[in-house]
């Protein structure tokens, strides 16, 4: 029974627990078995707390026996990127500098999942301070791709993606500043959503670049992502940037389907992918057209400005956050992360502010050009499937610059524009590595992305494949 439970989606597990057909404790044991079998190889966890998960699972089961239900994730085991603070627990942020730092308060997103009944198995590997698109971590060890451990997971939410793929837990919070949810979701064959900037509170989550940072889940299905986002989204007095926008019932909207929906197919920029990704995306168009969507070709505005401005924002903001440690503990950063942070010191204030004041006009230009023609834009999540750990391990020089901009080429623009992006598994390369598509929508229109992604998953089986 345990092995079967581990393969369910979070939503299906929650339904079974609610119906008395499964227990939270059995779900936790199923996860622990998977973790025991694969974590040594994949390095998904920074700190596993099995005893806590077992104890809270027993409490959840006891409550269930009394007919008391915490919420829609009652008894469902999750685990989260080690940058969501929990009061009294160490949050390393994937770093050496914070290896022993104990969080003084709990992240709003974690507190909302707790309140919904979710269990927490422990903290997950991530790129050092969430700064890295590959999943390399020179302090806690590189995370490895569940589909082939010689390949990277993508980053920075590396442990989240590979752990969800390996069915070690049923969902995970990641964070996305330039692609850190969508890129690992693409490389590991799971679902990941970067919501609209401001959709989810970032209170007591580690900051990297406050203009770009977004909190979102990585899951096995679109339904699970819709459920988790509906729980964590919404206004929060602890985070003044959390938008005061109503949160729709994303799960209830899943059944709307895509008939009549206009889905945009880019005619430039997002077409620059390898042959295998091109083949997978071509099949995805066919599936959506068969489901009744109208496919429309959409010219893409010039993306060069966005590509130029993105590091003008991220660089100075991350350098400002880390400035004190760059003064006092520079040698405690890995070489790659230190170089990227110090580069942010070299951006004049005028360039940073130009990048910020260009953001509104460029968002207007993009939405006018794209969303006047379609309801959802479908683009790749990455330019290719996951490279190997060895070939993508670069620590400096021009090659590093090229890699840091190439991997998140199709994800970064939507952080700068603040638009929501949903990555959904869409197939495999010839060597068995996952390839994901990315659905992008208007600000605060995550509901249409979920509807489209769910319809796609009802017609395909990519999300049911487990490594």
């Amino acid at each position: 029974m345990s092995a079967d439970l581990a393969l369910l989606s979070a939503s299906e597990l929650a339904r079974r627990i609610r119906a008395g057909k499964a227990t939270a404790r059995a779900a936790v044991e199923a996860c622990l078995e998977r973790i025991d079998n694969r974590n040594d190889q994949l390095n998904a966890f920074i700190a596993l707390d099995a005893a806590h998960a077992q104890a809270t699972a027993d409490l959840a089961d006891a409550e269930a026996k009394r007919g008391r239900w915490m919420g829609p994730l009652h008894g469902v085991p999750l685990a989260h990127k080690d940058m969501y603070y929990r009061e009294g627990r160490i949050a390393t942020c994937g770093s050496k500098i914070r290896r022993d730092w104990v969080a003084p308060a709990t992240a709003t997103a974690l507190a909302r999942l707790d309140a919904a009944g979710a269990l927490d198995l422990g903290t997950l590997n991530m790129a050092e301070f969430a700064l890295g698109p590959t999943g390399h971590n020179w302090h806690h060890g590189h995370a490895r791709n569940a589909w082939n451990p010689l390949h990277v997971t993508g980053g920075s939410s590396s442990g989240s993606a590979t752990g969800v793929a390996a069915r070690m837990f049923f969902g995970s919070l990641g964070s996305d500043t330039g692609g850190s949810i969508r890129l690992p979701a693409h490389f590991c064959g799971v679902v990941g959503i970067k919501p609209t900037w401001g959709r989810v509170s970032r209170a007591n989550a580690m900051p990297l670049s406050w203009t770009l940072d977004c909190v979102g889940p990585l899951t096995r299905t679109v339904e699970d992502a819709a459920l988790m986002l509906s729980i964590i989204a919404g206004v929060d007095p602890a985070d003044p940037t959390a938008a005061d926008e109503p949160v729709p019932d994303y799960v209830a909207g899943l059944a709307r389907g895509v008939r009549g929906l206009r889905i945009g197919r880019p005619t430039s920029f997002f077409t620059e992918v390898d042959g295998e990704s091109e083949r997978v995306l071509a099949e995805a168009w066919k599936v959506l057209e068969k489901l009744g969507a109208t496919i429309v070709d959409v010219p893409i505005p010039d993306m060069e400005k966005i590509g130029t401005y993105f590091p003008m924002v991220m660089g100075p903001e991350s350098a400002t956050i880390h400035r004190e440690w760059l003064r006092t503990r520079a040698d405690d950063y890995s070489g790659q992360v230190r170089a990227r942070l110090e580069a942010g010191l070299l951006v004049p204030a005028t360039a940073y502010l130009d990048a910020l004041r260009a953001r509104g006009p460029l968002l207007a230009e993009f939405t006018d050009a794209v969303f006047s023609r379609c309801d959802v834009l479908l683009v790749p999540s990455g330019t290719s499937p996951a490279p190997t750990v060895d070939e993508s391990e670069v620590t400096g020089g021009p090659e590093l610059v090229a890699r840091m901009t190439h991997f998140p080429k199709f994800t970064r623009p939507f952080n700068y524009l603040g638009l929501p992006g949903l990555t959904v598994p869409a197939g495999f390369s010839g060597s068995g590595l996952p390839i994901g598509l990315q659905l992008v929508g208007r600000p605060f229109d995550e509901a249409t992305l979920f509807t489209t992604g769910h319809a796609y998953q009802q017609a395909t089986e990519w999300h049911t494949k487990a490594p």
Partner: protein, 65 residues
């Protein structure tokens, strides 16, 4: 992508931020990773005189359905 920043300028800019890039390797690494200032300057020449960062929220609201 080139920054247009030389080693001396990188040292000075970092020092203005209170961080000493004493080690030559650190200077080179930071300068190599720095964003492309010349390109940003070129793009910014077309920015409206009235543009300011708070307009992003207004653009976000307008971009909704």
């Amino acid at each position: 992508m080139t920054t247009g920043i030389g080693e001396d300028e990188a040292r000075i800019l970092a020092a203005q931020a209170g961080v000493a890039l004493d080690d030559e390797a650190a200077v080179n690494a930071a300068a190599a990773m720095a964003p492309p200032l010349a390109a940003a300057d070129r793009h910014s020449r077309g920015l409206a005189f009235e543009a300011e960062p708070s307009q992003f929220l207004a653009a976000q609201r307008r971009a909704r359905r």
